[in-house]
Amino acid sequence: MSLPATTWQTVGPFFSIGFSWLYRDKLAGPGASGERIEISGRILDGDSKPVPDGIVEIWQANSQGKYAHPDDPQEKMAESGFTGYGRVPTDDGGRFRFMTIKPGRVPGPDGKLQAPHLAVSVFTRGLLRRLITRIYFPDEPGNAEDFALGLVEAGRRGTLIAKKIEGRPGALEWNVVLQGPGETVFFDV
C-alpha cells in the first residue's frame, strides 16, 4: 500500500528553540583526514537584504569520498571523527560559517565520479519548504564533467561554486541568493 508523504511547513522564525541543541559548525574531529576548509557566506533575499532567521544544513562525504551511511556501497572506510553533517544558523547579518574538510569524489549515476561537493538544505522563515542546493569547489577539473552541474544552464553554474578568499588559504565564500539577479540554483530532489 502506498501512503502520501506528509506536507512540508515552514520552519518559521523560532526554529532555534528546536534546532540549536544540534548546531554543528565544526564537522571534522582531530582524527579526520583531508584538507581543512572554512566555508562562509550570507543568505540574501529578493531585495538583497540579509536573512537573519535562516539555517543551513550540509551533508558531505569524507576526504576519501565515503559517506558515513550504511547505503554507501563503496569499499572505503568511514572515519570515526567525521559524520559529514553540519547545521549552522545565520547571524543578524545573514552570515553563516562552517569548518570542515574538502570531500572526496563520490560516484555518480552515469558511472563517472562526481566532482567534490556538499549537499545543502536551506531553511528560513518565509520558505514553505527547504531549498536544496550544492556547494562545489573552484579550480576543480571534475566540475566540467560533473553530473549535477551538467543539468544546470551554463550561465547559472557559478552560483554553485564557492570562491577562494584571497590571502586566507582554505577559506571559501559561498552565498545563497534566494531570489532575483544571481539567484542560486536550487534542485528538485
Binding site: L3, A5, T7, W59, D72, P107, G126, F147, A148, V189
Partner: protein
C-alpha cells in the same frame, strides 16, 4: 556500480509551492527560477545517521526539563513514522519546538506580550523505536498573534523536524489540533493545494494514548518519502505493489 534506487518524488499538489503570497514572508524569499530536477545520486540517498544515545529521556518530556512543572494542559503527542511504502522508519531523529501554553516562544524575537513560563523551554527530540514510533510529553501550545495581516493569529501548532534515512527524506512540518477554529484562516496551514494533504497535518485526539487523570493523547503519524520499488524490497516483505 549498479544504478542506485532513489526516493520517490512528491505527488503533485501535496506539497506547498515556494511562493504563496498570502504568507507574506514568502514573497521576497521564494526563488523565481524553476528548480533543476536532480536524479538521486549517492549524495541524496545517504544522510546523517544519529544513534539512540543522542536523545535522553528528558529530551522527550518537555514537562520535566526544569525544577517545576510548566503551566498549561499536559498532553501526550505520539505517532508512527512511516515511509510511502507503509514501512516504519526506525531509529530516526524527530525534533519538536513550540510556544508555551500562553502562546509565547522562548525566543528573543518573539514580541507577543504573553508571559514566558520559567518551567517551559518548548524544545524536544526523540529517536523512533524499531517500529518507527515516537512519543513526547508536553503541554498544549497556545495560539498567538502574528504580523502577517490585520488580526492574524496562528492556530495552535507544534513544529516537527525529521531526517529519515537519507538527505532526500528530510521533512520539516507543523502539527495542528482537531477543531481549532483558526485553522481555516491560517495562510501557512493553507499553503498546500490538496485538502487531504493539509488535513493530514491535524493530529487526532486519541483515547488509546490518553492517560487517566494525567494527560490527553494526540496521535500524529508522519510519512516520509519512500524508496522507489526494487525487486529486493518487494521480495523481502512479500508485498504486491
Amino acid at each position: 556500480m549498479n544504478r542506485i534506487p532513489g526516493y520517490r518524488r512528491y505527488m503533485p499538489g501535496t506539497q506547498p509551492p515556494h511562493l504563496h503570497p498570502p504568507y507574506v514572508s514568502s514573497i521576497k524569499r521564494a526563488p523565481l527560477q524553476p528548480l533543476v530536477v536532480l536524479p538521486h545520486t549517492l549524495s541524496e540517498i545517504t544522510g546523517p545517521v544519529f544513534g539512540p544515545e543522542i536523545a535522553d529521556a528528558k529530551a522527550c518530556d518537555l514537562t520535566r526539563q526544569h525544577s517545576g512543572e510548566p503551566l498549561g494542559e499536559r498532553i501526550i503527542v505520539s505517532g508512527q513514522v512511516l515511509d510511502e511504502n507503509s514501512r516504519p522508519v526506525p531509529h530516526t531523529l524527530v525534533e519538536i519546538w513550540q510556544a508555551n501554553a500562553a502562546g509565547r516562544y522562548l525566543h528573543g524575537i518573539d514580541q507577543h506580550n504573553a508571559p514566558l513560563d520559567p518551567n517551559f523551554t518548548g524544545s524536544g527530540h526523540a529517536v523512533t523505536d524499531s517500529d518507527g514510533r515516537y512519543r513526547f510529553v508536553t503541554i498544549r501550545p497556545g495560539e498567538y498573534p502574528w504580523g502577517n495581516h490585520h488580526n492574524a493569529w496562528r492556530p495552535a501548532h507544534i513544529h516537527f523536524s525529521l531526517f529519515g534515512p537519507a538527505f532526500a527524506t528530510r521533512l520539516v512540518t507543523q502539527m495542528y489540533f482537531q477543531g481549532d477554529p483558526l485553522i481555516p484562516f491560517d495562510p501557512i496551514f493553507n499553503c498546500t493545494d490538496d485538502e487531504k494533504a493539509r488535513n493530514r497535518l491535524i493530529s487526532q485526539f486519541d483515547w488509546e494514548t490518553t492517560i487517566p487523570s494525567q494527560a490527553l493523547g494526540y496521535r500524529f503519524d508522519i510519512v516520509l518519502s519512500g524508496r522507489e520499488s526494487t525487486p529486493m524490497e518487494t521480495h523481502a516483505h512479500g508485498e504486491k505493489s
